[in-house]
C-alpha cells in the first residue's frame, strides 16, 4: 500500500467515524428540546434527561432502564418506559394507549423506531402529543402513502359535504376510540374534518378490524357499519352475505 493510499484510507476512516459520531448525536434528544415541555419532569436544577434515561446501568443503545420481559404487553424497552409514567400515576394523559384488550398499531417493540417512537418523539412536543409528523390525526399518510382515487378523502369538511355522522360526539381526552371522530383542521382535537383517525385508531382499534373505530357487525365481515355511520343510506340499501 502506498503512502497516498494509506492517507486516503485514514481520511476515509476518520470521515466514517465522524459521520457515525455525528449521526449518533443527531438521533438523540437534546436537553434544550425537552426543557420546558411536559416531558421535563425533573426537579429544579436537575437534568431533564435523567427522568427517562435512568442512570447507572444503561442496557443497550438507548440508556434507559431495560424492561426485563422481552415478550408480553410491555415487551421491549420503550413501551415499558412510557407506561411507567402514563399509567395513571405520574399522568393520566394517554394511559388509554396501554389498554391490553384493544389492538394497537403493529410494531416491533424491540427495535428503535418500531415501538411508541414509531409515531412519537418524546424529546419534541411536535404538533401535539409529541407526534413526530405534522398532520396529527392525519399523519398516517406519512407512511401509508397510497392516496389513490379509491381512497376515502381526508382533510375535508364533513359538514361541507353534507355529512352528519351518527356518532359525532367524542371525548378526545379519555381514549374514546369509538364511532366517527371528526377533527379540527389541525387534527389536534374535535372538529368538523375527516382525518385518518376519524375511522381508525392506532391505539385502540376494534379487534379483527384494520384498527377501525367501529366493530364489524354480527352479520357482516366488512366495514359497512363504520361506513354507515356517515353514509346512512348504505345501511339501508346495501346487503352483505351473512357470515
Amino acid at each position: 500500500m502506498t503512502t497516498r493510499m494509506r492517507r486516503v484510507l485514514a481520511a476515509m476512516t476518520l470521515a466514517l467515524g465522524a459521520a457515525l459520531f455525528g449521526g449518533a448525536i443527531t438521533v438523540l434528544g437534546k436537553p434544550a428540546d425537552v426543557a420546558g415541555t411536559r416531558h421535563d419532569v425533573a426537579i429544579q436544577g436537575a437534568s431533564p434527561c435523567t427522568s427517562c434515561h435512568i442512570p447507572s446501568d444503561p442496557e443497550g443503545e438507548a440508556l434507559w432502564a431495560g424492561a426485563p420481559n422481552k415478550t408480553g404487553p410491555l415487551a421491549g424497552n420503550m413501551k415499558a418506559l412510557c407506561f411507567s409514567c402514563h399509567d395513571g400515576t405520574v399522568t393520566a394523559v394517554g394511559s388509554y394507549a396501554f389498554d391490553p384488550s384493544r389492538p394497537e398499531h403493529v410494531g416491533d417493540p424491540g427495535i428503535k423506531g418500531e415501538s411508541c417512537d414509531r409515531c412519537h418523539d418524546p424529546h419534541r412536543p411536535g404538533p401535539g402529543k409529541f407526534l413526530k409528523q405534522q398532520g396529527a390525526a392525519g399523519m398516517c399518510q406519512e407512511c401509508h402513502r397510497r392516496a389513490g382515487p379509491a381512497d376515502h378523502p381526508v382533510n375535508v369538511s364533513a359538514s361541507a359535504a353534507g355529512i352528519t355522522p351518527a356518532d359525532k360526539d367524542w371525548d378526545a381526552t379519555h381514549g374514546d376510540f369509538t364511532g366517527t371522530r371528526l377533527w379540527n383542521a389541525e387534527g389536534t382535537g374535535p372538529g368538523d374534518y375527516v382525518k385518518c383517525l376519524t375511522c381508525h385508531s392506532p391505539h385502540g382499534g376494534q379487534p379483527g378490524t384494520a384498527m377501525s373505530t367501529v366493530a364489524f357487525s354480527g352479520s357482516h365481515t366488512s366495514f359497512l357499519p363504520l361506513c354507515a355511520n356517515c353514509h346512512s343510506r348504505w345501511a339501508a340499501t346495501t346487503k352483505e352475505a351473512p357470515r
Binding site: T13, L14, A15, L16, G17, A18, L20, F21, V41, A42, I43, Q44, A46, T50, S51, I54, P55, S56, D57, P58, E59, G60, A65, G66, A67, P68, N69, K70, G72, P73, L74, A80, L81, F83, S84, C85, D87, G88, T89, V90, A92, S95, F98, D99, P100, S101, H174
Partner: protein, 363 residues
Amino acid sequence: MTSIAYDPYNPHPRPARRLAPKFLLLASLLITGGAVAGVVFLPAEVSEEAHHTAVRGVSDLVYPAALVAHVSQPGESQWLLPAAVVTVDDTTFVLDTGNNRILKLDVDGRLVAKFDSATDSRLGLRQAVAMATDGRKLFVVDSSAPMVLVVGTSGRVEKAIPLPSVALADKPLRPIGIAVSPDGKIAVSDANNHRVLLLDGEGRLLKAVGIGARAGGTEGFNVPGNLALDGAGNIYVVDILNGRVVQLSPGGDVIRQFGQLGDTAGMLARPKGVAVDAAGRVFVSDGLKAAIEVFSPAGTYLGAVGRRDPDDPAAGSLFVAPAGLWLSGDRLQVADRFAGLVTLKVPGPVQQAKAATTPAASH
C-alpha cells in the same frame, strides 16, 4: 461479582456472564482506540457483554420469597390494569382501574362480587389508582375527583370525604395515593401539586408536606405516589420520579429517605407501591425494573424479588408492571397492571425473629 442467591422461581439460574479481565482490558482498549480513530469494528455482542460486566460493581440480590399464588385473571369477569390490592380479614379487594370498579375475591382468588357505579351510583370511578383500608372499610381515591370514597366490604359507598380546597395555582388536586391509620387519619398524595396531605377523618387538612412544586431532599416530592404506614404510624411515601421512598413521622416531618433513581441493585427506576411489615422492612414495587425491592428499616437494600436472574437483564421477571402492594403477616400481595394478582410469602428476617410475635403493621 458475587454469586447469585437461590431464586425460587428460577432454581437453575444461568451463571453470571463474565469475561476474563485480560479480555476486558483488551476490549476496553479496542473500544477506546476505535472511538478515537472513528473506526467501528467491534462486534456489538462483544461490546455489550464487556459493557455490562464492566458497569456492574455489585450483583443484585435475590430476596428469599416464595410464590404462593398467581391469579392472572379472576375468572370470566376479567380485570383490566389493576392498580391496587388490600385485604380485609380473608377477603381480597382489587382495584380494577381499567374497568372503574372494585373486585372482591375469596381466599382462593375466586371472584365473589363486583362493585361499580351499577351497584352504587356514587361509586363512579374514572381513573382510580389507589386504595387502602383501616381493616374494616375500603378507602379509594380517584385521580379525577378530589375526594375519598369510603366503601364497605359489601360495596356500598358509606361516605364521600371531600378533599380540602388546597390546590395551588391552576392545578386541581389529583390524588394517586392513600393510607389510613387505625385512628382514622388519612394521608393522600397529590401528584399535581407534588404534596402529601395529612387529613383528619373528615378530610380537614392537618398538614401539607411539600413545597407545591417538584422538589427533592427534605423540601418535598417530585411526584408522590403510593403511601403506607408502619406500626408506629410513620408514613412511607413513594416519590416516583425521584426514585426514592421518604419516611415521614406521623406529624409529617421527614425522618429519612432511601433509594435513588437508577436501575442497578438497590436503586429505583419507577417505584410504584410500598408496604411495611411488622419488622419494619420496606417493600417497594418497581414498575420499570419489574421487581419488588426490599429494604431494611434503616433503608439498607436487602434484595429483590421477581426478576428471575437479576444479573441478566434479559432473563425476564415474574412481574410485568408491579404496582400496589399489601402485606398481611408474611403474605405480600402485588397488584401487577398486566400480570394480575401475585401473592408471595416473605419470611421474616432471621435476625429479627421476635418480629413474628409483634402485631401486624398497619398500612
